[in-house]
């Protein structure tokens, strides 16, 4: 394999779940593309990297300082998720119009991920006009631990704390839930 091809294959292997065989196929495809197509690909990559960053408020990806959704959302409810991708899953469902808050991770004391490492302080600062916090972290160890921690922290502030119902299969991920399951889980949310 030529140096240039090996280098491009190595770059593709950094994408999620891409092994050597898939990376090689992708690299070959790049070589087969026309030069304008490859230039567009690289410029789309650089533009996305340069213009997209995290919303100061909710932590979702945005091209603005504070995202459009944070400005126009119903500010009485806030839905707490692990990652921006989980926000996309909720948005696809289309029946929730409150605020979101992406923690950018969940607690994992074994790996040294303590409350200071995820966006918990930022969440607490956003609770002024909120009267319900819906915790939508995944039903896995880190997600459950984080949910319990947040409930303990927020309930004393006199704010209702709810958790998505177990419509989501245990071990599954919010990101992959279909619209109906997610909708059911939202409706059946229980106070913690």
């Amino acid at each position: 394999m030529s140096d240039a091809l090996a280098r491009l294959t190595a770059a593709f292997r950094k994408l999620p779940s891409v092994g050597l065989k898939t990376a090689t196929r992708y690299a070959y495809k790049i070589i087969e593309m026309s030069t304008p197509e490859v230039v567009e690909f690289t410029s789309a990559m650089l533009d996305a990297k340069n213009t997209i960053h995290f919303c100061k408020e909710c932590g979702d990806y945005t091209e603005l300082e504070i995202c459009e959704r944070c400005v126009k959302a119903d500010k009485s409810t806030i839905c707490v998720v692990r990652d921006p991708r989980d926000i996309s899953a909720f948005e696809k469902m289309g029946t929730y119009d409150g605020l979101y808050h992406a923690l950018h991770g969940t607690l994992d004391f074994q790996k040294g991920i303590t409350p200071e490492h995820i966006r918990i302080k930022e969440l607490i600062q956003r609770l002024k006009s909120v009267n319900e916090v819906i915790i939508a972290t995944n039903p896995d160890i880190g997600g459950e631990l984080t949910a319990a921690y947040l409930a303990q922290l927020i309930k004393p502030l006199g704010i209702k704390v709810t958790r998505l119902a177990h419509g989501i299969p245990m071990g599954g991920e919010v990101e992959y839930a279909d619209e109906i399951t997610l909708s059911r889980a939202l409706n059946d949310r229980k106070e913690m």
Copy 2:
């Protein structure tokens, strides 16, 4: 989804077997990467596109005018394949040291792919010192048709024409054959 993200997702969807969900995951991963990582990715892409082209002789990918393999190979045998990827499969096996010839396609008269559209003329021009042509096109309709066409063309020149044995499962592809199957198919090749 922001414009920049949509544009990058569209670019990723041009890669083989990449749907919307996978493309979106890849796009998010790019945004999560550090800027130097993204710059390296785009530069690897452009470098591969700019420096890699087809070898004038065998049609494999190379950074040279005539690839190293064409220079140092045993020139008495030539192995005819559909694509450069098939050459990679043979090279992984590691027991063949003759020439290769990538046709860049197989005949398909329904789709209008006639002998002028694939590298058959170039193959004929390379047969001077060759005393055996091994036809290693896939055992599918286009591959079998091309093999038959080439045998008819080359046998009158007094050159032995062989075909890979059916060690390769019918409907399978040369590119995906494991080393043992491919090695067996090479050893059992039969004169056409």
